[in-house]
Symmetry: C2
Subunit: 363 residues, 2 copies
């Protein structure tokens, strides 16, 4: 966790790509890059991850996997991907023969993450998989096992754990600036349009908790550096307009960590709910909002005896994606475990399933 | 609940004392005022409530009850209270013979609220009692019963339910501006100094939940207009520095209302935790912060298709106290039930006890 241990002054200088630059020079093969096969050409791939790779140091797009050949050809032209490196879901396993592909980026509906990650590992490719890593604990465990067996890296795309403002918040806490952490509030949600695959219970595996509430859950864990000892939630459906026949609309939950830190969180698909967190410590508090979006992170902190900290992050979308992609590249080059590896994703998955058990999925 | 039904334009014109002015003129005896006996000369009495009465329309200080004669004489001089109207706790029941006292304002440690409210009712006086109304459900019920039996009003000093910014938030919701309410976040807490009576389990009856978390609990109820159907909390003590031997330090809880609205709340005595709430609806959200303090309330609301609402409340402490005191005066004049009567306080008390049962008081 190199990026977690850098000093405050150093952190101020971080730019998107700089996380990677802390690699020891010897471990960084001159000019070598990691070729990513992009699996699933949806919004996050085409509008965020792939444009991000253009600004990365060690990552590039070398293949595309899509059910839409036209769309794939258009993207291939933009990213100089040869026609032979465009795959469909039918010939996906043929990526094994393509030496230009070191890793895959899985950006499919949640219920397809496990299958395509496992097939990638079997094809000898490292895996960067979007969150939530899967829709069940069993699938998540199978992903971990398959990548371990194939001796391939499995990284879950917890973007915020590579994002400077979130790292700064963690660092303030680790440096003891807030004193003892006592309590956290966090929320994240949005008003979903009808017809999105996320509203399909099988494809999403759950509702806003799996999709966006996971940011609050993950944040409470990386902010405290602890695993919740107890948790409980309530879910509900209020808008009976056809959107929430298969997944919850709202979910509110509390957690208690072993140190005694308590956290209260909200998520929704039924309302605009800006992503934020507030951490209250014995010596001060910090507030990050927006906390989880693709850009605009803004940290403020009120610390006893210190001037107000007010740090908007000027980086713009897609600046958060290069450090994420390059982190996996670093781990491949150095044969290190990704900071947000499969086990990290598995922890959230188990917690989310425990939350659903506590409240019933649909409330 | 007159004040809840006024229009937006009217609300804009509200000043501290104006809540009362909606009384029908016929019911308002010309020049008549309500004489308050102030029971307990602590911070809230001396620095907030009594100065507030100077700006009230229908309320004035006519007696003082204190264990500190010196302090009482000083305050008596300031408020033109004659020496015969200064009482100690020993001769408290003699207030019965004092016709200048219509009502008492109870601002004692929580565990004394019930006794002094009940004795006041028996002495033929109406009661305005600070929150939390007592430290047990049984005591709270006894207060309700005693006041009913004596045919005296019992009002709990839920200041925020008479405060213009909080009323404005309620009105926006009732007017449907936010669409369907889906979820609420709220918090309220502070870093308590050692030695305060609030840290005494018997006197406080509980920790931050009873003292300041009650604002969030009460707000969730008046914002939704509903009673929680389910709730659950986690409490903890982190700072083993002698302050939290008898009451919890932190408490985090969630609630689910019959409509499906979910709420997540935090309270603490171990950290600066600004009092706020956020209400997320299908058509917009509102945020009030500060929400619960003596001044500085600030409402912002983002509503679909409408310009940003950004309304800082210019009223300064002690402007929130005259409407509270005058509301009881109105109820006495018109023989109406106070908006925040004993039953309102009893509801919070039952909910807080349920929360303590769910988490154990000390976590």
């Amino acid at each position: 966790m190199t990026s977690m241990n850098i000093s405050r002054r150093e952190l101020g200088r971080i730019t998107a790509a700089a996380v990677f630059s802390q690699l020891s020079p010897s471990a960084r093969p001159q000019g070598r890059t990691i070729g990513y096969g992009i699996v699933g050409l949806g919004r996050i791939s085409m509008q965020h991850f792939m444009p991000g790779l253009k600004a990365s140091k060690y990552s590039r797009v070398t293949a595309l996997v899509s059910g839409h050949r036209d769309k794939a050809e258009k993207m291939a032209a933009e990213y100089n991907v040869p026609a032979k490196s465009i795959y469909s879901y039918d010939n996906y396993d043929a990526i094994a023969e393509n030496k230009e592909i070191d890793a895959v980026y899985i950006a499919l509906p949640n219920n397809m993450h496990a299958e395509y990650s496992i097939r990638a590992a079997k094809a000898g490719k490292h895996v960067l998989c979007e969150k939530p890593m899967a829709t069940t604990v069993a699938d998540s465990q199978a992903m971990v096992d398959a990548c371990r067996k194939a001796n391939k890296k499995l990284m879950i795309a917890y973007r915020c754990q590579y994002e400077p403002t979130n790292l700064r918040a963690v660092q303030l806490i680790r440096d003891g600036k807030l004193g003892k952490v006592e309590a956290i509030e966090s929320a994240n949600g949005f008003n979903i349009r009808p017809g999105e695959w996320r509203l399909n219970g099988k494809m999403g595996g759950g509702g806003p908790l799996m999709d966006v509430g996971i940011y609050s859950l993950n944040a409470c864990r990386y902010l405290t550096g602890e695993e919740p000892a107890e948790l409980n939630g309530y879910s509900s459906v209020i808008d009976h307009d056809g959107r929430f026949n298969e997944v919850e609309e709202n979910l509110s939950w509390t957690m208690k960590f072993p140190s005694g830190v308590v956290a209260s969180c909200n998520t929704t698909y039924g309302a605009n709910m800006p992503g934020f967190y507030r951490v209250h410590g014995s010596k001060g508090m910090l507030h990050v909002e927006p906390a989880f979006g693709y850009e605009g992170q803004h940290l403020t902190a009120r610390i006893q005896g210190e001037p107000l900290i007010d740090e908007p992050n000027p980086n713009r979308d897609p600046s958060q994606f290069p450090p994420e992609a390059d982190h996996l590249a670093e781990c491949i080059f150095e044969n290190k475990e990704p900071k947000t590896n499969g086990e990290e994703g598995l922890k959230d998955m188990k917690l989310m399933m425990a939350l659903y058990r506590s409240c019933g999925r649909m409330g």
